[in-house]
Amino acid sequence: MAYSDKVIDHYSNPRNVGTLDKSKKSVGTGLVGAPECGDVMRLQIEVDENHMITDAKFKTFGCGSAIASSSLATEWLKGRSINDALEIDNMDIVEELALPPVKIHCSVLAEDAIKSAINDYRAKNGLPLFELEKSHH
């Protein structure tokens, strides 16, 4: 299967790889997927007092499309408020990276990771949780 140039770019030069201190109140962590399914994403956000995302990091176990989806997600998250961040839709990722149909689940996983990280932050800071949509796969 041929990968798009954007997938190859994110895969070869992933943005924002790393780990934030998950014990900090200002950090939200989302860990989604499962090793036996062949992909696990960990996405973390650091949020300031105005609920703006100042930093985002990821680590992903998975195929090139999964790595690219999470790398792209961290780029899009930085500088957004935690409410704006919820508007990132998996289909935006599919479009940006030109993912083929068989790789759509990678983008779904990235969206799940974003939501799960935001919820983790909200829980830590006593904010009401929003309901996570059931994963599409």
Partner: protein, 404 residues
């Protein structure tokens, strides 16, 4: 300078040897006759080419040339052997024994027969990929007509104890069929010494052309027959109708001849390169060699690199053509059923790479492969949350993963 991507997928197919092509060319052009044409020299010349190839193939496996049936490849040979034996001998019994790690052509032919009333036992292999002979013997019944067990496995390269398997099959009056696609031309295979009744082989796995293969069908002690699966002109002693693929057959014969001459020295050279590859990659933490390391093909290595995913790894290894145990092509990922049969967990099966060396592999290429694989594994572990957790001493089994 080496040409990239370097080809290390010789269990999937091999590059045709130029000497094979040279032998084939006249049979595409001036020697174009139909080997079944008895009335003129065009037919005679083609038939001579086929007869000579039949001898070459027979010699490689210790058979008589009359026992070689040419086919379109190993999938057809597997189908003809299994379905043909079942249809021929089903009055004697309806039980067939095979392994869970067989090639799909064998497994699916068996599944097809199940619908027609056959009783199939799919034996599990041990964690090293080999069949337990006691379990095989325990599975035999008076109804067993066929034991279908591969000579060497295509994913992990382990060599089954075929001689003992044949003895057990014969003790119970059953025939022994072996899919020897990965073994023939790579290691010594002898149908007499091994007690094989039917054997499938393929041209393109041994530096010959694609689209041609053979089925060995024993003629003496016992005389074995298979019911043909295609109706037509009654070619190949009535077992396989269809105009013979003369250039392909000539190429297969030439490929067999080259293997007879070069197999022994090649096996030494390739196992040396394979061992170098394997020991170098085993220096990486948390890497595991899959399958029995004593009884296996000289040119195949299957290694799992824990905490990295196979398809992602292959992408980082884009300068190498290898196979992964992971097929991430749908929402539900299917790790290799062969590796799962060895008892590997799904994540370890997803993390496996098969390296298949061949006649045209060089030491320079193997060094390149070692260097690039190491780099790729380290790059992906940098990205892997699982590797980080492992390094922090977190037991991954203790985590409740979000099922999806």
């Amino acid at each position: 300078m080496i040409k990239t991507p370097i080809y290390l997928d010789n269990n999937a197919t091999t590059q045709m040897d130029p000497r094979v092509l040279e032998a084939m060319i006249p049979y595409f052009t001036e020697k174009f006759g139909n080997a079944a044409s008895r009335n003129h020299p065009y037919g005679w010349v083609a038939e001579e080419g086929v007869d000579y190839a039949r001898e070459q193939v027979a010699k490689l496996i210790g058979a008589n040339e009359k026992e070689i049936i040419f086919t379109s490849g190993a999938t057809e040979s597997d189908n003809l052997a299994i379905k043909g034996v079942y249809e021929m001998y089903k009055d004697k019994g309806n039980h067939i024994i095979t392994l869970t790690t067989e090639h799909k052509a064998v497994l699916d032919a068996c599944k097809h027969l199940e619908k027609q009333g056959a009783n199939i036992t799919y034996l599990d292999v041990e964690s090293d990929g080999l069949v337990d002979l006691q379990k095989l013997e325990a599975a035999m019944t008076p109804q067993t007509i066929l034991v279908a067990i591969m000579y060497a496995n295509n994913e992990i390269g382990v060599i089954q104890p075929v001689k003992q398997i044949a003895e057990i099959a014969h003790k119970f009056g059953a025939l022994f069929f072996t899919d020897a696609v990965q073994a023939v031309g790579k290691i010594p295979v002898n149908v007499i010494e091994d007690g094989i009744d039917l054997l499938a082989l393929s041209g393109h796995k041994m530096y010959g052309p694609k689209g041609v293969g053979a089925l060995y069908v024993r003629r003496k002690n016992p005389r074995v027959k298979v019911t043909s699966q295609m109706d037509g002109g009654g070619h190949e002693r009535g077992m396989r109708s269809g105009t013979l693929n003369v250039p392909g057959i000539v190429g297969l014969g030439k490929a067999c001849e080259l293997c007879i001459d070069e197999m022994a020295s090649e096996a030494i050279r390739l196992s040396g390169l394979r061992d170098k590859l394997e020991s170098s990659l085993s220096e990486l933490e948390e890497s595991y060699v899959n399958g029995n390391v004593q009884h296996r093909l000289p040119h195949t290595a299957n290694i799992s690199f824990k905490y990295v995913e196979g398809e992602g790894l292959m992408m980082a290894m884009k300068d190498m053509a290898v196979s992964s145990g992971s097929a991430c092509t749908s929402a539900s990922l299917e790790p290799s059923y062969v590796l799962k049969s060895l008892g590997l967990s799904d994540d370890l099966a997803h993390s496996s790479i098969r390296f298949g060396l061949g006649r045209f592999s060089t030491e320079e290429e193997v060094d390149f492969a070692i260097e690039n694989t190491k780099k790729a594994v380290l790059h992906l572990r940098e990205l892997s949350p699982l590797w980080e957790m492992f390094k922090e001493g977190i037991d991954l089994d203790s985590i409740e993963w979000a099922a999806h």
